[in-house]
Every structure is written in structure tokens, then in C-alpha cells.
């Protein structure tokens, strides 16, 4: 049982004595946040715009990771909540001329309600049925929006109020969302729910036998992820300023979430951070090659996964044997072929 119990070790807790990393960690992190928050003072317009993208995609990645990496819910439908966020912003500010702040609350509420409603059918499904089911839900929502008079069908909205938001302000918003998502996942994992998630991740049926309420834990993760993705969607569309069903509910959002999380390292809290940086920088670089930029992205995705099948964090962990926040999902790489878990149990 050695490998299994190791998953439930103290998360982020340092084994070292007080006065070491544990004591200084808040300081280091606070300094890092300050450095990042002051970025508009020393970065160019372009740097700021890239920063916005990194932190927003980081948030999407963290939330997808919360599902796939920690709850075992591989969803292809989280773009539904990005779309809900975007359209809430559009309706609140353009159709009803109300404040942007209000759209955050409404987006959160609508996302929560929608996530609750669809959780009834899709939580009956498991594995790939869940995966495909979530995609169908989000495609259905796309078609529904295209046929919904209330949102002007497929016409789309320009979010004109967002033209005049200053980019540093938008950057700070994105920073808050991105770091907020990271912190949220971190605290979830440190809570009792985190312990339950670890147990589920290591052995679902064993966890259930030990009294972990699978359904409730997974549902809670799904709701949190969906609501936060919806809120992220609002900020995303404050940046994009033009919302249209095909783009807002497009599978491209999920492609980018999967890329970020898997490349960064599934089931690690640093993974989406690294993944988002890599994804955004890579995309910005490939934009210099119009026409073949998508091919470059696809080749990069396949190549990276061939070189580091468990993502960057998996590779880092495999080589150096440490993690910043230890929340690994699987027995560390190199403990033998995965399809024979009895090996791990045997040792």
C-alpha cells in the first residue's frame, strides 16, 4: 500500500523545520505577486496583453485540471461555461446596459444553475461517456444559442463598454482570476475535500468503501470548476470584446485547456501555470507564421507529449523527484507500467 498512502501526504506542507521554506514561503509568494501586479509599470503594451492571456488561460487550465486531474472527470464541455460567461457579459452590458460587475454575479449564478441541471444526466455517465456527454451538452448549448432570439440568434455582440477599459486594469483583473484559480485549487486540495479527492484519485472504489461520498465530492468539484470557468469567461470576453456562439462555445477552448493541463502536468498545481505560459507564448510565436501556425501548434503538442508523456511537471518530478506543492495524482513515474497496479500494491 506504500504508493497509495503517499498520495495523501500533507499537501504543500514542508517537512523541514520552522524558519525554512515553510516560514518564508508566504513572503516569497507575496513578493512574486507584487512583481507580477506591478508588471504594467515595466512591461510594454504587448507584454501586458500577453500577460492577460496567460493568466486567463491559467485559470481555464486550473479549472479543467480540477476536473480531469483531481476528480477524474475528463470533460470536453467546459467551453459551455466560457460561453455562458461571455454571453452574460454581453447581455448585461449591451442589451441591458448594466454594470460589468453585475455580470460576474449573474455569470456565476447562471453557470451554477446550468452546471447543476446538467449534472443530473451527465453524472450518471462515467469515463468516456462523461467525456462525450459533456461535449454533446456544450454543442447542444451552442445550437440553442444560435436559435435563441433573446441573444439575437447567431449575430453576436460587440462588448463596446470593454473598449475603454484600460489594459493595465484588465491585466490586474486577469491576474486576480488566474492566481485566484491557482489559490482556489490549492485550498481545495488542503481541505477535507482535498483528502477525499486524493483517495478517489488513488482508488475510487476503495475510497467509496472508506466512506468518501464520491458523488458529492465530484459534484462539488464540477460546480466549482464550472462557476469559476464562467467567471473567467466574463474576463475573457472583456478582453476579446466580441462574442459569438460559434467562438464562445467552440471546442477550441477545450483544446487549449487540454493542451495547457496535459503539457504542464496533469494533476499538479504547477502544471496549468507552466502549461499556460507555454501555450500562450507558443501561440504568440506561431502567429508569426500565418497559415501554418495551427500545424505548428499541433506538431508541438504531439512532440512535447512524446518527449514528456506525463507533462513538464511529470518530467521534472521524474528527474528531480520533488514538487512545489505535492499533489501528485499517480504513483511517481518510473514505478512500472501503469496497467498493472498490483505491482505498486505489491511493493
Amino acid at each position: 500500500m506504500g504508493a497509495r498512502t503517499s498520495g495523501i501526504r500533507q499537501i504543500g506542507g514542508a517537512p523541514g523545520p520552522r524558519g525554512g521554506w515553510a516560514a518564508r514561503k508566504p513572503l516569497v509568494l507575496a513578493a512574486a505577486v507584487v512583481v507580477l501586479a506591478l508588471l504594467p509599470l515595466y512591461a510594454s503594451d504587448y507584454g501586458i496583453s500577453v500577460g492577460i492571456l496567460i493568466f486567463l488561460y491559467m485559470s481555464l487550465g486550473q479549472m479543467w485540471n480540477l476536473l480531469a486531474g483531481y476528480s477524474g472527470l475528463v470533460s470536453l464541455g467546459q467551453q459551455a461555461f466560457v460561453g455562458i460567461g461571455g454571453y452574460t457579459l454581453a447581455m448585461v452590458t449591451q442589451a441591458y446596459h448594466m454594470s460589468i460587475a453585475l455580470s460576474f454575479f449573474i455569470a456565476a449564478g447562471v453557470s451554477l444553475a446550468f452546471a447543476l441541471v446538467i449534472s443530473f444526466p451527465i453524472f450518471k455517465m462515467s469515463g468516456v461517456y462523461f467525456t462525450v456527454g459533456t461535449w454533446i451538452v456544450s454543442e447542444a448549448l451552442l445550437v440553442f444559442f444560435r436559435n435563441w432570439a433573446f441573444v439575437k440568434y447567431d449575430a453576436g455582440y460587440n462588448i463596446t463598454v470593454a473598449y475603454r477599459i484600460s489594459m493595465p486594469a484588465l491585466y490586474l483583473g486577469a491576474l486576480a482570476v488566474g492566481l485566484g484559480a491557482t489559490a482556489l485549487v490549492y485550498f481545495i486540495l488542503r481541505s477535507r475535500m482535498g483528502l477525499a479527492l486524493m483517495a478517489i484519485r488513488d482508488d475510487e472504489s476503495a475510497a467509496e468503501a472508506r466512506g468518501v461520498r464520491l458523488y458529492r465530492t465530484k459534484l462539488a468539484c464540477f460546480l466549482i470548476s464550472s462557476v469559476y470557468t464562467g467567471i473567467t469567461g466574463v474576463v475573457l470576453y472583456l478582453n476579446i470584446t466580441y462574442v459569438k456562439p460559434g467562438a464562445a462555445f467552440g471546442i477550441d477552448w477545450t483544446v487549449c485547456m487540454v493542451f495547457i493541463v496535459v503539457i504542464g502536468g496533469l494533476g499538479t498545481i504547477e502544471g496549468p501555470v507552466i502549461g499556460a505560459v507555454i501555450y500562450v507564448i507558443l501561440r504568440q510565436y506561431t502567429y508569426n507564421f500565418p497559415g501554418i501556425s495551427m500545424i505548428m501548434l499541433g506538431v508541438a503538442a504531439v512532440a512535447i507529449i512524446m518527449l514528456a508523456p506525463e507533462g513538464i511537471m511529470g518530467a521534472v518530478h521524474g528527474r528531480f523527484g520533488f514538487r512545489l506543492f505535492s499533489t501528485e495524482r499517480r504513483p511517481p513515474p518510473g514505478t512500472g507500467p501503469r496497467q498493472y497496479p498490483e505491482d505498486a500494491a505489491d511493493v
Partner: protein
């Protein structure tokens, strides 16, 4: 008994920093029944995976019938005449009993031989003949175990490894199955029993190895080993660890 059919020489397996098997050496004589006894986590599965080529990252040597089979592909090892009956839960559930048997003869190209082997399997386990058309998922635990053994025998092996025959089965059923194993052994098939249960293993085998924490701690002729001695080794881990 005329010499070793298979020998394991200095076999070690490591996972990262962790060494799961330490320099294991074993000898399986032609026509004998050898038992490997160990508790959950002693390294039995690791050993079997290494021998059967499922895990090919190992050091040491496995020699079968004069040929070095270390790190061969599983299919090549099976073709040489080593086969393993995994735990009873591993039957192909969505296949009929008959199809399961056919899978056992997957590497046998001769139709005649397949027919002969099928007859032998049904002869050994008449209960399976009655169920031959049924999906394996509807079999009882004992029947599944029988099917797993029958399926393994379909490749006409010289050496049959039986993993945890008694796991989760009622003693009556287990006795029945062990009797069948003796029948198989009578036909000249060398048998390796991998078990947690000490008493029955000693009773049914000619030679025994006791595995604790990836090492062979006791070995000897089964009739010369006392149950208590083995149990001490088995439970009194501190003595050896």
C-alpha cells in the same frame, strides 16, 4: 524428475529507487509441483510479471528448457511452453466459455491440436462443457478459476503457473480445483503454485519457496518444511527483514 525445466538466476527488479525483488534464484524441476508462498506485497506478482515477460525491465536470467527466455515477449514465452493462469477474475467476460478456451490456444495454428486440447480441457473440467456456450461473465467463482486453468492448458504448456488459485473461493471448491491440478501434473505438466495459503501449498507441492519482502527467506522440500517454520517466516517479518 530429470533435471530443471526452468531456472531463475539472480533475478532483481527495481522500480525507481525501490528494489522489489532481490537476487531471486529458483529451480523448477521437470514434472514437479513447486509452490511459491508469500503474503500480499511479498513480490509474487512482480516475480510472475518478470518471468512471463510482462515486465521486461529486470536483471538476472530466466532459462526455460535450455533456452534463455529473459526479456522475451510474452507471446514468445508462451510459444516456448510456459503459461500462466492468472487470478480467476481475469477470464474474458464478454466471450463464451468456448471462446475463452479458443483464446488459450491463440498461438496454436493446428486445428486438430486445438480440438484435441479442447477435449482435454472439457475432460478435466466437465462442468465447463455444460456451460460452453455461455458468456464467462455468468460463471461462478469456482467455474471461473477452472476456466482460467483450462484456458491456460489450451496452449499445451510444459510449465503451468497458477496464480492464487484459492483466492476468494470456498474450501470445498479449492480442494476440487487442487485435485484437478494434480491430474494435470499427472499428465507430465510441471506446475508452479503461487499462494498465500501455507498449509495447502506445502501439502500439494514437492518443493517450496517462501518469499518475504522480495527475498527468498526459506526454501526446501515441502515435506521437510514445517508449517510453523514457514508461518514464522511469513509473519515474523522482523526476523528476516
Amino acid at each position: 524428475m530429470d533435471g530443471a525445466l526452468m531456472t531463475v538466476e539472480g533475478l532483481s527488479v527495481s522500480y525507481g529507487d525501490f528494489r522489489a525483488l532481490h537476487d531471486i534464484s529458483m529451480r523448477f524441476d521437470r514434472g514437479s509441483i513447486v509452490s511459491i508462498i508469500g503474503s500480499n506485497g511479498a513480490g509474487k506478482s512482480t516475480l510472475l510479471n518478470a518471468v512471463m515477460g510482462i515486465n521486461r525491465k529486470l536483471s538476472g536470467r530466466v532459462v526455460f528448457d535450455g533456452a534463455d527466455i529473459t526479456s522475451m515477449r510474452t507471446s514468445a514465452i508462451v510459444a516456448k511452453g510456459v503459461t500462466m493462469s492468472p487470478e480467476g477474475s481475469s477470464v474474458f467476460e464478454d466471450m463464451s466459455v468456448h471462446e475463452n478456451l479458443l483464446m488459450g490456444a491463440y498461438l496454436t495454428n493446428s486445428r486438430d491440436k486445438r480440438a484435441r486440447m479442447t477435449e482435454r480441457a472439457y475432460g478435466l473440467f466437465p462442468a465447463l462443457r455444460e456451460k460452453s456456450g455461455q458468456l464467462a461473465t455468468f460463471l461462478s467463482g469456482g467455474q471461473r478459476q477452472m476456466l482460467a486453468i483450462a484456458r491456460a492448458l489450451m496452449s499445451d504448456p510444459k510449465l503451468l503457473i497458477c496464480d492464487e488459485l484459492s483466492l476468494g473461493l470456498a474450501p470445498v471448491v479449492v480442494n476440487d480445483i487442487y485435485d484437478r491440478i494434480l491430474d494435470v501434473n499427472e499428465e507430465g505438466v510441471t506446475i508452479v503454485l503461487v499462494e498465500q495459503e501455507v498449509k495447502r501449498s506445502l501439502e500439494f507441492s514437492d518443493y517450496s519457496y517462501v518469499l518475504v519482502k522480495g527475498r527468498v527467506v526459506i526454501e526446501g522440500r515441502s515435506d521437510e518444511l514445517s508449517e510453523d517454520e514457514v508461518k514464522d517466516a511469513y509473519f515474523g517479518i522482523n526476523k528476516y527483514a
